[in-house]
């Protein structure tokens, strides 16, 4: 990439952190997606490694267990030449605000350049970002935000459909507890998509209709004419009578099977952020459907994270 492009891009993404997709403009998002597009293509070449982050240090700080997001960030950072440190903080002990800040200060003293954080409490990543000097990327905070997931979903859609603008995207499942849904509703709206959400009322947040999405409790109706069907994971502890009566009933009314899928457009994409519960929110054969882009999402995850790290690196102090 030439230095001319670098200048333009710093203007296009003038942020130190990526904490939320809220407030990101169309230009900024498209800039990241363009960058990710190139990264995706580059990643398919034999010589993947670049030096954008050479001699930079990235810490993966995960307070919540994660396999795919953590490894995706690690791979993205390594492909850009960064030194990566993975820190998995115990999930069993309840992390208090003070402990979190102490951890942050300790890490800050090691002078990393970028910290990627996942935390089970909404707002924790933002709190941490206030306390440290380096760039912070939110890899998921509670039920609040997961910006790189929304970006990778947008990229997956854009690559498959050629656009996001004007598409109808149905997001179905546990909206209430989902940071993926919150991030996607905002980002897809910004990009001009029409967003619908479907869930039983017990899994819808209060005032869901004011989120910029059409709200359905009938999944069949939600899928009518949809271009994209995005399923969300239902956590096991929420299945047996607390939020929904049983996996059987949930699958019957909110699981993506061929019958419900038939309500969407014939070329509708099938998406899932993973990990999937086959037979709970998605039928096994639908997950493996030819229109399923679930594995593309994983690939685009690495590309989007490369783009994000690259964009943030441009705002870092010159080495």
């Amino acid at each position: 990439m030439t230095s001319a492009v670098a200048k333009v891009s710093a203007l296009h993404f003038p942020h130190r952190h990526l904490l939320t997709v809220e407030g990101l403009g169309v230009t900024e998002i498209n800039f990241l997606l363009d960058l990710a597009d190139k990264a995706a293509d580059a990643s398919r070449q034999p010589g993947k490694k670049r030096d954008v982050l050479r001699s930079r240090t990235l810490i993966n700080l995960f307070f919540e267990a994660s396999t795919r997001t953590q490894s995706s960030f690690e791979m993205a950072a390594k492909r850009l030449g960064a030194d990566v440190l993975n820190m998995n903080v115990s999930t069993s002990s309840v992390q208090k605000g003070e402990t979190l800040i102490d951890t942050a200060m300790t890490l800050n003293a090691m002078r990393p350049d970028i910290i990627v954080v996942r935390h089970h409490a909404a707002g924790a990543v933002e709190l941490l970002a206030q306390k440290i000097d380096c760039s912070v990327v939110n890899a998921g905070d509670g039920a609040h935000q997961h910006p790189t997931q929304a970006l990778l979903d947008a990229l997956t859609i854009r690559r498959a459909k050629g656009r996001v603008d004007g598409l109808t995207v149905a997001i179905c499942g546990d909206i209430l507890h989902s940071r993926v849904a919150r991030s996607n509703i905002i980002l897809l709206n910004t990009l001009g998509a029409r967003v619908r959400i479907a869930a039983p009322s017990t899994l819808l947040p209060a005032a869901a209709e004011r989120f910029g999405a059409e709200v359905y409790t009938d999944m069949w109706k939600c899928l009518d004419g949809a271009d994209v069907v995005m399923m969300l994971r239902l956590q096991r502890e929420r299945m047996e009578g607390s939020y929904v009566p049983s996996t059987r009933e949930y699958f019957h009314f909110f699981g993506l099977d061929h019958e419900k899928l038939a309500r969407a457009k014939p070329d509708a994409l099938i998406m899932h952020p993973g990990p999937m519960n086959r037979g709970v929110e998605i039928a096994s054969t639908v997950a493996d459907h030819s229109r399923s882009v679930i594995r593309d999402q994983v690939e685009m995850g690495v590309a989007v994270r490369m783009a994000v790290l690259e964009a943030l690196a441009r705002s870092l102090p010159k080495r």
Binding site: T202, D218, G241, V244, P245, R248, H252
Partner: protein
């Protein structure tokens, strides 16, 4: 009282006209159309083919004719709260015996409660009730399903699939869901499926060990009481949850004046709230317990006479939507015990209408009020097409002699259990004939032949 004129009988050959019956010379009472006037009714192929004053004197040619002799023709009653013992406690009552009792009481549709063993909390069990009813019952039977698994108040049931299987509403039996969060979720989740949540309102902690209404009578009898507040608190909580969730809510049986006030306020807001009252709470009070008569032990407990009067006024004003029998068969061994140890519950299907007519004879309620609360109102709340006398409607019809005096002998009850609080009571008014889909399922044989 069933008089087929000779000419009608002659002409009623094996031809189609045999299935046409005219009920003439009746007083037609149909609360759905606010009708109370002399007239007649024509039944063909199980449906009401015609109705009106023009059929009062003259039946069409070539049909069976029944002279009602001025007695009341009304829609068959719909009883929205009936406990049976099937499955699990068949010695108390089966769907068959309950339906026999219902037919004799003029009740053409019963809604059975899920409080059985096993509890009706699964699709297969709803199906079981429906198949057993189809094969054995002589009146229409619908079932409520449990709103929480095993009626434990902890985890909600498969409300969507149960409703699809035919559950008409959701109940937690004779216990309240104490966990507010669970109740919230039931209302919220049920709303997506248009489910009616019919809840018993009695705070289980406050009413713990309560054997009868808290107050002077209980104190004198040395019995621990269940305070009215237990009902009011639960009802007020539920109304808040309805406001929060928008779920369709029905307070199964309220029993005191303060509860009526809560309902009235909720309806005025307006919230999707309805309520019922049991016939016992309209016609009896705590003093009837007298010397520890366990047939008067029930849930909610009988209250003061002021509360009873308030309940009657609530029916008259329409704030109380429906009257139920709360038919609850208990065998003699479970009732013949010290009051504190005796089971709750009273049978009531066969006496439902006669007991309600007491309020007509005492001029506390009009006939239309009484029938409205047992026909069209429950039909509307439960989403049934019955409960009205209209052209094209299914012929669930009863013929009632409003004035006939009789004395209840509990041994003559058709119910398998005899725990009636009206035993040896003087009654005025009784059901002469009950038709379900045009078929006579009960006919009063007359006093001399019983």
């Amino acid at each position: 009282m069933t008089t087929q004129t000779k000419s009608a009988r002659r002409s009623a050959g094996p031809a189609k006209s045999a299935s046409v019956t005219a009920f003439i010379n009746a007083r037609i009472i149909d609360p759905a159309s606010d009708c109370d006037e002399p007239g007649g009714l024509l039944i063909k192929d199980g449906r009401i083919a015609d109705i009106g004053p023009h059929l009062r004197r003259n039946a069409p040619e070539n049909v069976n004719v029944v002279d009602c002799k001025g007695n009341v023709l009304a829609p068959g009653l719909i009883d929205a709260q009936v406990f049976t013992g099937e499955p699990g406690f068949e010695h108390r009552e089966t769907l068959k015996t309950a339906s026999n009792a219902a037919a004799a009481g003029g009740v053409t549709t019963i809604v059975v409660m899920p409080e059985t063993n096993p509890v009706i909390d699964q699709v297969a069990l709803v199906d079981f009730i429906q198949r057993r009813a189809r094969d054995n019952a002589i009146v229409n039977v619908h079932t409520m399903a449990a709103m929480t698994k095993g009626l434990k108040g902890e985890e909600m049931t498969e409300i969507g699939l149960l409703k699809r299987a035919g559950a008409i509403a959701f109940s937690n039996g004779k216990s309240s869901v104490a966990n507010t969060r669970v109740m919230r979720n039931v209302l919220l989740y049920g709303k997506d499926f248009g489910a009616l949540i019919a809840h018993h309102t009695e705070d289980p902690y406050l009413s713990q060990n309560g054997m009868m209404n808290s107050g002077e009578v209980a104190a004198r009898l040395g019995l621990s009481g269940s305070p009215k507040a237990a009902e009011i608190i639960m009802l007020e909580r539920d109304v808040r949850l309805v406001e929060m969730t928008g779920g369709r809510y029905h307070a199964a049986t309220i029993s005191c004046a303060e509860s009526l006030e809560v309902i009235r306020t909720a309806k005025s807001r307006p919230l999707p709230v309805t309520c019922g009252v049991s016939i016992n709470h309209l016609t009896l009070n705590e003093n009837d317990i007298g010397p520890y008569r366990t047939f008067f032990k029930m849930r909610p407990p009988l209250r003061s006479d002021d509360d009873r009067a308030a309940m009657v006024a609530g029916v008259a004003s329409g704030d109380i939507d429906i009257i139920v029998s709360s038919h609850d068969p208990q065998d003699a061994d479970d009732k013949r015990r010290p009051f504190a140890e005796a089971t709750d519950g009273a049978v009531g299907l066969e006496t439902l209408l006669s007991a309600a007519l007491r309020l007509y004879h005492s001029e506390e309620l009009s006939l239309l009020d009484i029938f409205r609360a047992m026909t069209i109102n429950p039909a509307r709340i439960l989403g049934l097409h019955s409960g009205r006398l209209a052209k094209g409607a299914v012929a669930d019809v009863i013929l009632v002699d409003l004035g006939q005096p009789w004395v209840l002998n509990k041994d003559e009850l058709r119910s398998r259990s005899k725990n009636s609080p009206f035993d040896e009571s003087k009654m005025r008014g009784r059901v002469l004939r009950t038709l379900v889909a045009g078929n006579t399922v009960y006919q009063y044989p007359g006093p001399e032949r019983r």
